[in-house]
Symmetry: C2
């Protein structure tokens, strides 16, 4: 179980736990080793868990009425992922989440989190701060969608997700940026000439 | 001071406080009565506070390199407002916030909040839940910008901010939706004919 303990310290870095607390957290986490292309959440499912990405890469996407996919987010090592709107309210997902690479995840349920917050208040602070960062990144994303060109948004995508381009399909990146794959190719060509 | 106490209970509804706790919160809140058109935050300022909107209406906006304004958010009664990216990290604002109506606000600083979280852990839970809701609303906004038409985004704007249209200038609404004022007029005409 020593490996698990070192992973717990890695997930919740900057927190000092007692051995008893580590055991408690361990009892709440479920390790998942998943193949590429595994769907971990489907729209219309009740969302009771969030996932820590230990390695691999995942994609959260939304399918609109016309059947078109829109990528909301990618998640790489050390990110948490879920359909948070549904997770926070214990309601039905509007999004799908799939692995786009072989992935190792740690799942935790909302009720486990609530139990842990009572036993280990530092964890509530930890998740509040995670949420603040995620909120800030969404705020910047909204500003970018209002104020930036597609080229600027692409550059900031590369910055947010370094080395992800080898892993991710072009149409996923295009759907994350809200542009066509043709526009994405044009932007890449422009940048290579800059 | 009885009025202040009832306001504190209104701001933090669903929490039961002792009298001592109410006094403590009261000592951390600063009431502001502001005229229409008052700037409460400017880009480049260090952000140390957030604001509870008791009444009135405010607007958070970003000015891009070309000098164009982009409205990120409006805040009405019972909303909290700040440049949260900067607030959470105690860094410089990238946004401006102004009253677009006479407003009554309650200001609280980050350090006061941290003090309160230690004394009254329920407040940390309260703000975590607020943050979760705000995060969910930003998530929906990003999805909307990827997947919805301008008309659908306008209808959801009206839904989010009922009765705000009398208060807010057309170009503020257009800049929130990421469209021109001409497109906004066209959408309104379409809806009135539906």
């Amino acid at each position: 179980m020593d490996i698990e303990k070192s992973i717990i310290l890695e997930i919740f870095k900057d927190i000092t736990f007692s051995d008893k607390e580590v055991d408690l957290i361990e009892s709440k986490l479920k390790k998942l080793e998943l193949k590429k292309g595994t769907t971990i959440l489907q729209a219309e499912e009740i969302v009771n868990s969030q996932y820590y990405v230990y390695d691999g890469c995942l994609r959260t996407y939304f399918i609109d009425k016309s059947g078109k996919e829109h990528t909301l987010q990618f998640a790489i090592n050390d990110w948490w992922i879920s359909d948070y709107t549904a997770f926070f309210t214990a309601s039905k997902a509007i999004m799908h989440i799939e692995t786009i690479q072989k992935a190792t995840l740690y799942r935790i349920s909302r009720t486990s989190m609530e139990d842990l917050f009572i036993e280990i208040p530092q964890l509530e602070t930890f998740f509040r701060k995670k949420m603040e960062k995620a909120f800030a990144s969404f705020q910047n994303r909204i500003l970018a969608s209002l104020a930036q060109s597609a080229k600027e948004r692409y550059l900031s995508f590369i910055n947010t997700y370094p080395n992800i381009e080898q892993t991710v399909k072009n149409y996923h990146i295009a759907s994350y940026l809200g542009i066509t794959t043709e526009s994405l190719s044009r932007i890449r060509k422009e940048i290579s000439l800059d």
